[in-house]
Symmetry: C2
Subunit: 393 residues, 2 copies
């Protein structure tokens, strides 16, 4: 059976070059970067080289990079560390209503420490209105965290325009770029942010290799206490293989970005046009233009994401119905609900995320299989029968 | 030049079997364990198998294992998560004065949240007195955290005896077993603890693969917020290769433990006897008997650890002067100071930690090289000249 993997947001294979770069650090170069003897030298050099590569990917400086274990940790460190460092100045935080759970739940958790959280809404395409962020600013606002791109519907936010609305020397502006970095052009100066989260596993790098960039001079408190690694901002023995893999993935992502963006956008548009054309009562979720190149996300009416995924899987196709971080909770996506999509329609959420090996034939295969899957599920759907009756009547 | 690596506490090579077990998960089996399609199945099965292996190493149950990114995170999660979960019952914490920084600094950090910390002292061999812990218990004591074995001097604490001193249904008892697990027999029932930290990189497993065991029924709050991974207790995409490597390392550690303990103890004693016999004004630090099998730790008077490490390095020997987590801070070890060793003497701290490939010849080579290194440094040492003059006078 043909295998078509279109769930790259949940997991993507390592690039062979990334794996090759990591292997020596799972072998002979096993030293601790903190060691004072020569066994540590190779590891230390490799960590610092990777730090430079990650900084280059986003236009920052190496010493502004804090390595973390995953995107969730980067976001937790950002929200807690930046907010707590400014708690004496104020306790108001602004986020959007479609942030990843690692931002949204962390903000909510900070409410227990006396912080107040304003959630700015998004429009039907998942877009934040910069003016709305501007209007939400208060004298005690110390942190604004708006994601660069959404990991469920792919909408890319106007971060630079939001930055313009923030008062000078006002709140720290953090952006969760986990879904974006390595997939679209990201530059911290152009975005005009002070902190940015990224994760290697979103651009064919390893899990365990992620980072938070924090602009020089911006104070951040650590999430954990321990040794002096990462300048005390992230203690714990460095996961050198993962850091090296992240660095290599960052280097390759930067180099290959233009080609990847063009290729992904073309295949994505082929998939979107095909689905909308072939499947009645289907809608595209997220912004039609300002969206991640590799993201094709839909709501398919009258049926449920879980069933769609199961039947697609039986045809060799991997897709998602939302964030892998909550897929097994089987709840309606807070992102779709925030975009004004009904609870019922949001059940039919289906997300295809492209990978480096995705071909036009893969897309054609999905466009052949998906309508069959949808037809079959709708034939069993009470909602669809009801709809048909109402149509007739 | 001969190479003798005796800094295994800072970093140790992966066992070939561990690397082999990890490689497929850096390759074809790249799925996300949370995925609902078949690409996730292999990853999910592997994570659950590893969970069982880790539980077996310490005599716990699989569902009591929370995977984390490192020992520091396990300790942070334990201290913060267990203390905060019981904050309404009381805010008193007991730790020892020789805990790793990830316990000690985290406890101090909790003071900012209103917790009070009692640090029980240790004797000259780094041993905690169970009665002293018992006497420190207060009605509002909610957490006791005493390490199983110290990572700088190797002293093994009488955890089971300490547990006897704790009131029934009283404080949660956590032990930092990062230096111990995989290196000595560890069983949570025999120790009678409610939480235990361990890390794969201390028994030839990968960095990125660590765990906190928390007894069923003991409440713990997460350190981070995000998705539903690890039952919500540790969100973030699972680092499957690291978890698989941890599981394999746990399996092998359990299997090979008796042989390793015997072999390490013999080589360690050869090294200790040799150093104490050949080098004047040298003392063994830590307990002479209740110590980790692979740990030979000394203070060599009149000279400094940094110099010792540099000259040993020039002879192809890797050693440490204390915790790698603070080695570059070049401060006197809080562990040695807590044991009553003078600030001056603690400067000459030197720690050799054995590895699976350490041979008798390696030990002989160190016993040949170290006296030369010490002689050379003492010839340049003002403290040593002063001492000699005083001897004569």
């Amino acid at each position: 059976m043909r295998k078509v993997y279109l769930d790259n947001v949940a997991a993507m294979p390592l690039l062979p070059e990334v794996r090759e770069a990591m292997l020596p650090f799972l072998g002979d170069i096993f030293g601790n970067p903190q060691s004072l003897h020569s066994w540590g030298d190779g590891a230390r050099d490799a960590v610092e080289e990777a730090r430079g590569r990650v900084a280059e990917l986003i236009g920052g400086s190496a010493e502004e990079i804090i390595f973390t274990s995953c995107g969730t940790e980067s976001n937790n460190l950002a929200l807690r560390g930046l907010a707590r460092a400014k708690a004496e100045k104020g306790k108001h935080i602004i986020i959007s209503s479609i942030e990843h759970f690692s931002v949204m739940n962390t903000a909510r958790s900070l409410e227990k420490e006396g912080f107040e959280v304003t959630m700015v809404p998004v429009d039907g395409q998942g877009m934040v209105d910069p003016d709305e962020v501007g209007r939400s600013i208060r004298p005690d606002t110390v942190l604004v965290s708006i994601m660069l791109a959404n990991g469920e519907v792919g909408t890319i936010q106007p971060i630079a325009k939001i930055a313009e609305k923030l008062p000078k020397n006002g709140p720290v502006f953090h952006t969760d770029a986990v879904a974006a970095a390595g997939n679209i052009h990201v530059n911290i100066k152009e975005l005009d942010v002070s902190a940015l989260s990224l994760a290697g596993n979103q651009f064919n790098g390893p899990r365990g290799g992620a980072a938070l960039w924090v602009k020089r001079g911006v104070r951040i408190l650590p999430l954990m206490d321990g040794g002096i690694q990462e300048g005390g901002r992230r203690p714990g023995t460095e996961d050198v293989p993962a850091i090296v893999g992240l660095g290599k993935a960052a280097e390759l992502a930067k180099k290959n970005l233009p080609v990847k963006v063009q290729r992904f956008s073309r295949l994505r548009d082929q998939l979107i046009e095909g689905v909308l054309g072939k499947i009645e009562h289907s809608i595209l979720t997220g912004h039609p233009v300002q969206r991640l190149p590799g993201y094709a996300s839909f709501c398919l009416q009258f049926i449920e994401g879980e069933g769609i995924l199961m039947l697609l899987d039986s045809k060799g196709i991997a897709a998602a119905s939302g964030s892998a971080c909550t897929s097994r909770a089987l709840k309606a996506s807070h992102v779709l609900l925030a975009m004004g999509i009904s609870h019922e329609l949001s059940q039919g959420s289906t997300l295809f995320t492209l990978g480096l090996d995705t071909t036009e034939d893969d897309i054609n295969y999905v466009l052949e299989a998906l309508p069959q899957v949808v037809d079959r599920l709708r034939q069993m759907s009470p909602l669809y029968s009801k709809f048909l009756k109402e149509q007739k009547g």
